[in-house]
């Protein structure tokens, strides 16, 4: 398949006062919503939606939206509402990454809403499903110990609702529905493409490979992403099939500006704790001194329990090599750059960096996380323009060394 290039923004509430971070040491769950200013949020929404629209105008193939709760990280408390609005502002695909299934008590509602989206957008929807972070479980009171069971059961129920004529009854372990018979069904057949998205839980990668659905790696270091691809391919090999590039998506912090130096400075907005998923302490401190974004923010802090409440994460996931690789890249902004958690540069530099990334991971869907933190709107728009006009055209036909067997493009010095 031809590689697709998407735009992503958490659309985070970046209007928080920095002092509030210092005071509380975290930015999620118990971060008091008295800090929230609706008028600022209204303006942010308009700015963020304009950025999506502009990405479409500049030649991106689509936009990616997601969902978080009780968190300045993202103002998207319903991924389906985000997708509905964005679908009316862009021409391309809308990938939802996605609906956090375990937090829903009626997964058929999710099936209905995705069908509506697919119909309204004339079949431009990719339906990603996620387990949700630990904070999502705490925010919505979804039992974290049953997170994976609920995810898998909801997934099976939604898929059946889309593919098996109703009405039928569902009496499962976590879901019990007298009548499953959603009136509206998706336009795309048998259903919209389904993705799983995650931050490298080995079980989810294996599960996605078993389902033969695309796995989207969320903002992780390059080495860890390469390992993820290996696991996916290994499972597929065991099952006797060969994945294509379309089975891997890679979402990656990207800051392109006219010069390397400008991009390096602006890239700090991708690093730190402004939109940290509930983390704090050192991360919040680093945000104050270094940046305002979320890369490099995956570990530490006084409340890791919020990210991994009891039973949410397996022992294997906590101790896996990938978890370790991810942690290793969490030291500083420069460490995050070295690990490939954040990619910065002029168009020329960044094209070479992404050729290296494509050579090592061959993602069919490359998603540029190109707006983050308190990054100014004009810089974001310039970055979108450079990505659309210069970077994407140069990468679109670049074949991965994993396919050609040629040498990996070197990382620029």
């Amino acid at each position: 398949m031809t590689r697709k290039f998407f735009f992503f923004s958490e659309m985070g509430y970046n209007a928080y006062p920095v002092e509030a971070f210092e005071k509380y040491g975290y930015s999620a769950l118990l971060f008091p919503n008295s800090i929230f200013d609706p008028e600022k949020a209204r303006d942010l929404w308009q700015m963020f939606l304009r950025e999506h629209e502009y990405a479409s105008e500049m030649g991106f193939d689509g936009s990616v939206c997601n969902e978080h709760h009780n968190n300045v990280l993202s103002m998207q408390e319903s991924v389906n509402i985000s997708a509905a609005v964005i679908s009316q502002r862009i021409k391309g695909t809308i990938a939802l990454i996605g609906n956090p299934l375990p937090i829903h008590d009626n997964p058929v509602r999710v099936a209905e809403e995705i069908a509506m989206l697919d119909l309204i957008s004339s079949g431009r929807i990719i339906s990603g499903f996620v387990r949700g972070t630990g904070i999502e479980q705490l925010s919505t009171n979804a039992n974290p110990a049953y997170n994976r069971e609920r995810f898998e059961e909801a997934f099976a129920l939604i898929k059946k609702a889309w593919t098996v004529p109703g009405p039928f009854r569902w009496e499962g372990k976590h879901y019990h529905l007298r009548v499953v018979n959603p009136w509206q069904l998706p336009l795309q057949k048998p259903h919209p493409p389904i993705w799983a998205a995650g931050i490298l839980s080995p079980e989810t990668i294996r599960w996605a490979a078993k389902q033969r659905i695309t796995y989207l790696v969320l903002g992780s270091a390059l080495d860890a992403t390469a390992t993820c691809r290996d696991i996916y391919h290994e499972v597929a090999r065991e099952d006797g099939w060969a994945p294509t590039s379309g089975h891997l998506g890679y979402l990656i912090h990207t800051c392109v500006m006219d010069t390397d130096d400008e991009a390096y400075d602006m890239g700090r907005h991708h690093y730190g704790g402004a939109s940290v998923i509930g983390r704090s302490g050192g991360v919040a401190q680093s945000a104050l001194s270094s940046g305002t974004g979320s890369a490099g923010a995956a570990g530490g802090g006084p409340h890791p329990e919020w990210m991994a409440p009891p039973g949410y994460m397996s022992k294997q996931a906590k101790t896996s090599n990938m978890a370790r690789e991810r942690r290793m890249s969490e030291g500083s902004y420069d460490a995050a750059l070295r690990a490939g958690l954040i990619v910065t540069g002029s168009p020329k530099t960044i094209i070479q960096k992404f050729k290296h990334i494509i050579d090592r991971t061959d993602p069919g869907y490359l998603t540029f996380w190109a707006r983050e933190g308190k990054k100014p709107h004009d810089a974001t728009m310039r970055g979108i323009e450079l990505l659309g006009k210069e970077v994407i055209p140069a990468l679109r036909e670049h074949p991965s060394a994993l396919v050609t067997g040629k040498e990996v493009t070197p990382w620029p010095q």
Binding site: L29, L138, N143, A145, Y146, P310
Partner: protein, 265 residues
Amino acid sequence: MAAVNEAPHMMTDAAGITAELRRGGSGAPLLVIHGEFGVPGWLESFAQLAEHYDVIVPSLPGYGRSTRPDWIMDVHDLAAWVTWFARDLDLRTPANVIGCSLGGWVVAEIATVAPQFFNKLVLVGAMGIKPERGEIFDYFLEGGLTGLRRAFLRPEQSSEFMRYWGKEWTAEEADLIEQHREMTCRIAWKPYMHSLTLPHLLPGVITPTLLVWGREDAITPLECGEIYQHAIPHSRLTIIENCGHMPEIEKPAEFAHLVENFLAG
């Protein structure tokens, strides 16, 4: 008789699982149902009680080394399991039973449906009741150590806190803490650590009941003990001063003495 400092510690196939069991002493059976932290060892209070009783301390399914069947999803399931386990063990009933914290909730549920199971009942800092003023401390918003420390008024002055939890945990010990947190999550996530029906059923409990609460219980408010006491007809509430949520560990001698007097009376 000297304190029974060591007790046989075994795995036994019972009630559909392989269960970890500690048992020591001789006399009438005294069944102890542990709380959300599991059974860290043969406690000093067990040793003292074992001078006069056959003290039987199983680890509930999913706690300690007891296996976890996936069908156990709430406290009623655990309550049913306890009665099955007692039958498989040929436990002579009616028996004396102690239930600590989460285990107190489990045995209170049994008391509402199977009075013939009990001779006398001791509930210690028991979960299961929603306080009217305060809140039950939410373990799941904090880490394992934070919750453990909060369960003691002065953790550093408790020899058994220090012995079992006061040093740096090995990977295995940390895993066990997380395993207990997960199991507790499975059964008591929502409504958190309480039942909406239990308060209405407690007036039907006919078992003589001793309620033991630490004055400074920062997990299950003392108010919960008062609600239990008002609800259970033949109950009395005894408060241990300068003590947190786990009198059986923080004040072992005083606790054991109270229980002995109650059971003998």
